[in-house]
Symmetry: C3
Subunit: 192 residues, 3 copies
């Protein structure tokens, strides 16, 4: 895990002075003395390869719970309602699965919608690079059909001590029901 990277600009970090992105709904808030523009920002990718009974060596995740009509090697039909997946996904700075990882995304996702494509996320980023060392903890709803989904950054440790924020998740690629790649744009509004 977490090979030290040597690239010069390792993690994309911006001290945003203006809210310029069209999807930073959060940037519009004004108010009572707290930060409404991110005090720190990271854009990272993570890569999920689901175990399907034949890819044990490469898989980074596995179904570990399923409803009575499901099983552990293939997602249930249509919206996969009830499938619970544990993952240990490499985090990279770009969209290349084979780039040197800067950490691991670990936790669970649960397909939690009967009539649409959606999941509930509970996971952590464990970062270990030349630029960052520490964990970031997330929970939230992830409605897959919305281009940009928002989840909560509920805490962090070490370099992210006590941080809070919002992460914007975008599905950057998907292949069959085995591989997907998420782009995660983490905006911290409490940095300590």
């Amino acid at each position: 895990m977490s090979a030290k990277t040597t690239s010069n600009i390792v993690v994309l970090l911006f001290m945003f002075l203006t809210a310029s992105s069209s999807y930073i709904h959060e940037g519009n808030h004004e108010g009572n003395g707290k930060h409404y523009k991110p005090c720190k920002r990271l854009v990272l990718f993570f890569h999920n390869i689901l175990y399907n009974g034949k890819n044990a060596a490469n898989a980074t995740s596995a179904i570990v719970g399923a409803p009575q009509w499901g099983n552990l090697t293939i997602l249930t039909s249509e919206f996969h309602f009830g499938d619970l997946v544990v993952f240990d996904d490499p985090i990279t700075l770009d969209n290349n699965l084979h780039s040197s990882p800067v950490g691991r995304a670990r936790g669970q996702y649960i397909y939690d919608a009967k009539n649409s494509s959606s999941s509930w996320l509970g996971f952590s980023f464990v970062l270990n690079s030349t630029d960052y060392h520490g964990s970031i903890n997330f929970i939230g709803a992830n409605p897959h059909l919305v281009n940009f989904r928002y989840i909560s950054v509920v805490g962090g440790t070490e370099d992210f001590f006590m941080h809070r924020g919002i992460a914007t998740i975008m599905t950057d690629a998907t292949e069959d029901q085995v591989y997907f790649r998420l782009r995660v744009d983490i905006k911290f509004y409490e940095c300590w």
Copy 2:
């Protein structure tokens, strides 16, 4: 999901100036410049119908994990210790299951007590009504035998951007081991 409602007072929202309710233990706090009276409040209901092997069409939740002595169509005996349930429950403004939903409650509950009736909750409200659009993220312990249980509101998005608070949960109805309805009184103390 989330039909636009047209009722005039859609979501109960109070800017509480006085802590009047007998069960607002939180309202008693005084202190260091933060809000000790809710800056926003929502009272909502959600409805859980557990899959029992025969009600696939109506069920809004399913057991997806169980201990070795359990199974996926019936809760384990007595306190159901170890049963893990995924849910996709309609949220309504009143206690009527058939009212037009204003969103979905999605996530998991886990029966987590060997010798009492209790669960651990990790879920989100995904609201989509004329009055609210956004998600609210919850975790916490839910000891069923206590009338009013407190869980943490650990974050929110869009209309609930970065919010934190406490939700008071009450079991409003229960029928056999298939249906229950919870009343959730969400008090935000950080509103941004």
Copy 3:
């Protein structure tokens, strides 16, 4: 659960004026008007006995989800990737399993690493002693091979109303794959 304890100094509580512990990495932070030294601190132990098919009476936890190659009475080989455990563990003031509990630690842990020993934690402390009444909610990554691991305290209720902080977890003892004891050093930085 939660016998009233009668010992005179029941819960170790320190208002730290100086950051003296060698592992209080968090104590080094300086900044913008928030607390960087704990406003409250608790040191507690909890005790996990995993169900193995033969210890139903004593077990405090059970595997309820496992990958396709696993089962519910024994952890999967090596790093146990994918095993999901529900627990209802006694919390004590010292490292003695048989001390009078001051509450329960309830929730889930998930072995979430393919090539190392690590878990993801989502749980609550439900405290009920002469000194404390209320719950504390945790999530975070728990890499077992690191001596001191940090997870997030994302909220609390009653005596811990709206609290946030960092918990430092240490494995205090482990026996086979059935028993382990964790020492949890909870430092609150937001106390309300």
